[in-house]
Every structure is written in C-alpha cells, then in structure tokens.
C-alpha cells in the first residue's frame, strides 16, 4: 500500500485518450498553419519526456536520488551516433545497442553506488557521470568536445524516412506512449509495489523478505536503459552528439523536469519536460533572461508544490 505518491493518474483513460488524440492531430495542425518548425520542437519535448520519465522511475518510485542520469542519456546517443558515423545506420540494431550499453553501464554503476546511502549516493552517481563525460571529451576520434556530426538518421526499414520531421515525431510518440504504458504496468505490478515499499521503508521491506538490493539494481538498470533509448532518439533529432549531453547540469535539468511535472507520477516526466521546454520557448521570445523566471518558478514549486504540476492535478489523498 503506497503512502506517499498520489494515485497514478494514468488510471484515467479519458485523459490518456484526449492527450493521444491531440498528439496525433498536432503535426497536421502545424502543417496547416505553416508552422512546421514546432513539430521538431514537439519531438524534442517527447524525447526529454522519455528521459525524464526514466529518471522519475528512479526518483519518484524508487526514492533513489541519482544525480548522474544524464550519463545514460549520453551513452545512448553515442551508441547510435558513432556507428552511424562509421556507416552502420540500422535503427533496430542501433537502438538495441543504446539500450543494452546504457543498461550495462547502469548495472555497473548501480552495483557500486547502491551500496552507499543518502547524500553519498547522490555524490557517487554524480562522480560516475562526470567520469563518463570526461571520457567522451577525451576521445578526439569521435569529436571529443567538438562533438560529432551525424549525416544520416537511423534506418528502420519499411520506407520510414526519419529525416522527415513528421515521421520522426510519430516515432517519438510511439516510443513515448510505450514507455508511459510500460511504466504504468510496472508500478502496479508486484515488482513495482515492492519497489515502492522499499522506497518507503527499506528496513521493513528487507525484514519482510524482499531482496532490496537486487530490486533496486534492477530498477536502476531499467531506468538506465530507457534513458539510453531517449538518447538514441536525441542523436537522431539533433543529427549531432557531444559530451555536454552527459554534463551534470543536464542531469540537473532532468531532475527539474521530474519535480516540475510530479515526482512519483506516471505523467510527471512528460508534464515536466513539456512545461520546462515550452516555458523556455515562450519566454525566450520575450526576454533573454528567461532562465531567471524559470528559476523562480522552480523555486516556488520546490518550496510550495513539491508534488509538482501533476500533484496539483491529482485529487488530494487523505492521510490515513
């Protein structure tokens, strides 16, 4: 029985259906308004939504404050970008590689980090991400800090041309929908409920008999793999990959999205990513100091609405 997080909103199928319908209509609306530029903006939002959702799995459901999540995002991007630069653009293999390598990295990092607690866990995840960042910087053969330009996008066959903005948008939408559905299934499964029990009180969970370390590690790996998937999409969207994807401020940005959207909610990652990126897009048209306003909004959310925007939308749960 969960005590801290609000009841998953995704149980409400009307909201999901409405959102999906709007999302499908969106690119055609943009085309009609001669504003195709916003289709690629929406794709970017979708990709960050996937990354933020994967972090939310760790942060919200697992209670694991990982400050190095950008590492998996970056690993996924390089795992698709480097092969394309070398001539291997097969999307299925590339994306599978991204998820596998990111997951493996998560396994290694998690195995070590999860043996620490509290603030030490935060710091050690940061340390590993920074190590990978500097590693990416050192490999001049694949651009180093100059980054790597990718001349073509992943090829998935079936005549799917990812270079077309609308096609790419739908690919991102499909992946996002799959991730959100998968998350909802996961958190209401036995594993999901065990993880939340561990989050709430891991001594009690252990005494009940849950293998807490192994469950946390599995969660870490799943989150890492999905982060890698987001990275694979990102390198396609940008046609470019550089180490800044792994820098600590990128991890911070993902955390901001999670808290803005709602820690421990299925929709939190998407709402947070959309909120932050739309705020950026809207405010930067009016002022160069848009980060000032984002900073204040974030501060107010942390201080007064710690359950984020999704928390505001959910019905208040009475405490037992």
């Amino acid at each position: 029985m969960t005590m801290a997080a609000p009841r998953p909103l995704a149980l409400n199928t009307f909201a999901a259906g409405l959102a999906l319908a709007l999302a499908i209509a969106f690119p055609f609306a943009m085309q009609a308004l001669q504003a195709e530029f916003y289709i690629s903006v929406a794709s970017r939002i979708g990709i960050y939504a996937i990354a933020a959702t994967s972090l939310n799995l760790l942060l919200g459901y697992g209670g694991l404050v990982s400050f190095g999540h950008a590492a998996f995002f970056g690993i996924g991007a390089y795992c698709v970008g480097v092969p394309i630069a070398e001539g291997f653009a097969n999307g299925w293999l590339g994306f599978a590689l991204a998820m596998a390598v990111a997951g493996a990295a998560a396994l290694a990092i998690g195995a070590i980090s999860l043996r620490t607690r509290g603030v030490y866990f935060i710091m050690i995840t940061l340390a590993f991400a920074q190590m990978l960042y500097y590693l990416a910087n050192s490999i001049k053969a694949y651009g180093g800090d100059e980054g790597l330009n990718i001349t073509s996008r992943s090829d998935f066959g079936f005549g799917l041309d990812l270079k077309d903005d609308t096609t790419f948008y739908f690919v991102v939408l499909v992946v996002l929908a799959a991730v959100l559905t998968g998350l909802r299934r996961l958190v209401s499964s036995r594993f999901g409920r065990a993880i939340q029990a561990i989050r709430d009180d891991d001594v009690r969970a252990e005494s009940i008999g849950y293998p807490t370390f192994r469950f946390k590690l599995l969660l870490f790996v799943i989150a890492g793999a999905i982060g890698g998937l987001a990275g694979a999409l990102m390198v396609n969207q940008q046609n470019y990959v550089n180490p800044s994807l792994l820098y600590w401020t990128q991890s911070g940005t993902l955390m901001i999205m999670v808290i803005l959207g709602g820690v421990g909610t299925v929709w939190g990652g998407l709402i947070g990513a959309a909120a932050l990126l739309i705020l950026e897009e809207t405010l930067s048209a009016y002022t160069v100091h848009w980060q000032f306003y984002v900073g204040w909004i974030l501060l107010l959310v942390v201080l007064f609405a710690p359950r984020g925007l999704a928390g505001l939308m959910a019905r208040r749960r009475p405490l037992p």
């Binding site: 935060i122 340390a127 590693l135 053969a141 955390m255 160069v288 974030l298």
Partner: protein, 305 residues
C-alpha cells in the same frame, strides 16, 4: 622534466589548489554543519568576482575593490541564508539540490541583468610582471600574491577553527548538531555566520582569480563540482580535509595538463594526446572521489565521530 619545470608546475598546482580550498572550506562547513547540499555556492564565487571587478573599475584601485567586495558578498550570503536557505535545512536532499539549482539560474541571470554577461578585470599593474625566484625561474608576481593570500587564509582558518571558541562551536556543530543544540549553542546565528564566512571566502577566490580567468556569468558551475569532489575526498565538515583534498586535486589537474600529454605524445598524434591528458586527469579525480565514497564515505579526515 627538469627540476625548475617541476618547481614551476608545483607552484601552479599549489595556486590552483589554494583557491579551490577557499571555495571548499565554506562548502564543507555548510554541508557538515547544516547538512545542506548548496549548489549555489559557486554562485557566491561568481557574485564575488563581479562585485570585485565592478568596484575595481569604480574606485580605480585593485586593492580597495577586492577588499570591499569580500564583506559585501559575505553580507549578501548571510541575507540569502536568513531568508531563503533557512527553509531548506529541514527538507530532504533532493529538495535542496533542486532549490539551490534554481538559485543558480536566478543568480546567473540577475548578475547578467545588472552587469551584463561578463566584466573585464585586470591584475594591478605593479604585479603584472614576473618575480625572479631563483636563476632561471621567474614566476608571475600576481600568482605569488594569490599563493600568499591563500596560505594566509588557510592559516587563519586553522587558527579560527582549532583555537577559538567560535571554532569549537563550529566543530561541535559539524560533529554532532543535535548535541550542540542541546548544549545551548545558538544554532541559527551560527549557521548564518558560517554561511557568511563561506560566501566571503568564495569572494576572495573569485576576486583574485578574476584577472586570470574571465569574470563571466556561469563561472561558478565548473569550479563548484570540483569543490564537491574535494570535500567528499577530504571529509564532509572537515576544513583540514578540504585543504588536503584541494591540494591533491590541484596537483592532479596541473599534472594532467603537462605530464600526461607528454606521456601520451609518445604514442598518440598531438591533437589526441593534448585532448587525452586533461581528460584522463579529470577521470582520475572523479575515480578517486568514487573510491573514497565506496570505501570510506566519511572522507580522509572525517569530521563526525
């Protein structure tokens, strides 16, 4: 590598390490005593640098500008602590990370709105040249000043923390906050004071490094992370640990810029050797941090118990 080169590089490492120490000292005390992760600490460094650059321009004197900037930044730090940051002490670490990350954004843009995205700052003309330390080795006078100030402040901090009553209160707070409170220490005022001193130390570093680096928005972000590495290695809450950690990191960083590229140039083309050197040095630094966190999380000089 010749002896003179080694001496000069050691001085460079020492200079960098001492400035890093000024940041780490404040950070470790805040973290140790208040148990708060303060990502906005690097912003104090930036604010200190901007205020100093602005005052130097205004007054026409480097000395006056820097000396005035330090207490001003300290006061600003205390104001921030007593209004905003105080509300975060009771919160969990994630909230602290996010709130102080938000502060970085707010402070970056505030500085940009007031002064623009960067300010020029020059070392005083009197110190613009070299000092001959020994035949064949001239070292920039300005950097010698930095080393001197750094050593002086390290000594002063040692005396303050180890030999005075206030220092005893600080050490008590760092090692066991609840006990210190029950013993009647006015924790709120102690916290504000510690924060103010931390901000002032950052301002010294920012003002002194301004002429060497660039006084620009966002300058605190890269040095902030290094400061966290240092305090983890040294031990959260320990000023002595911060000193040892800073000097260690300063040396490794300098070695990474010189010895390692030499080594790599033996078997890598020059562009790759030059890229690999500093990157490997950074990886080593973070590896050290990870090892400490795994094996001895309290750090090399634990402050607690």
């Amino acid at each position: 590598m010749s002896g003179l080169l080694l001496i000069e590089q050691s001085l460079n490492g020492l200079q960098f390490g001492l400035m890093l120490f000024l940041l780490a000292a404040g950070l470790t005390l805040v973290f140790g005593i208040m148990d708060m992760i303060n990502l906005a600490h690097g912003s104090m460094y930036m604010v200190g640098a901007f205020v100093a650059a602005w005052l130097v321009e205004l007054t026409g004197s480097f000395v006056i500008g820097v000396i005035l900037a330090v207490p001003l930044t300290g006061l600003f730090g205390m104001a921030m602590e007593s209004t905003l940051l105080r509300t975060l002490y009771a919160r969990d670490h994630l909230s602290q990370v996010l709130a102080t990350f938000a502060l970085i954004l707010i402070l970056n843009e505030s500085v940009r709105m007031i002064w623009g995205s960067d300010l020029p700052m020059s070392a005083p003309a009197a110190l613009a040249g070299p000092v001959e330390l020994m035949p064949g080795l001239s070292y920039p006078a300005y950097r010698l000043l930095i080393i001197a100030v750094g050593l002086l402040l390290a000594l002063a901090l040692y005396v303050l923390v180890a030999r005075t009553r206030i220092g005893a209160l600080v050490r008590a707070g760092a090692s066991n906050r609840e006990m210190a409170m029950t013993m009647g220490v006015n924790i709120a005022r102690l916290f504000t004071a510690v924060f103010g001193v931390g901000a002032a130390l950052c301002a010294v570093a920012g003002a002194l490094l301004g002429p060497l680096f660039a006084v620009q928005v966002g300058m605190g972000e890269s040095i902030l992370i290094l400061a966290f590495v240092v305090i983890v290695i040294g031990g959260i809450g320990s000023v002595r640990g911060a000193l040892v950690g800073s000097l260690l990191v300063g040396m490794v960083d300098t070695l990474g810029r010189t010895v390692m590229p030499h080594l790599f140039r033996e078997f890598l083309p020059p562009q790759m050797a030059s890229a690999a050197g500093p990157a490997v040095a950074s990886v080593i630094v973070y590896l050290l941090m990870a090892v400490v966190l795994f094996v001895k999380p309290e750090g090399l000089f634990p402050a607690r118990g």
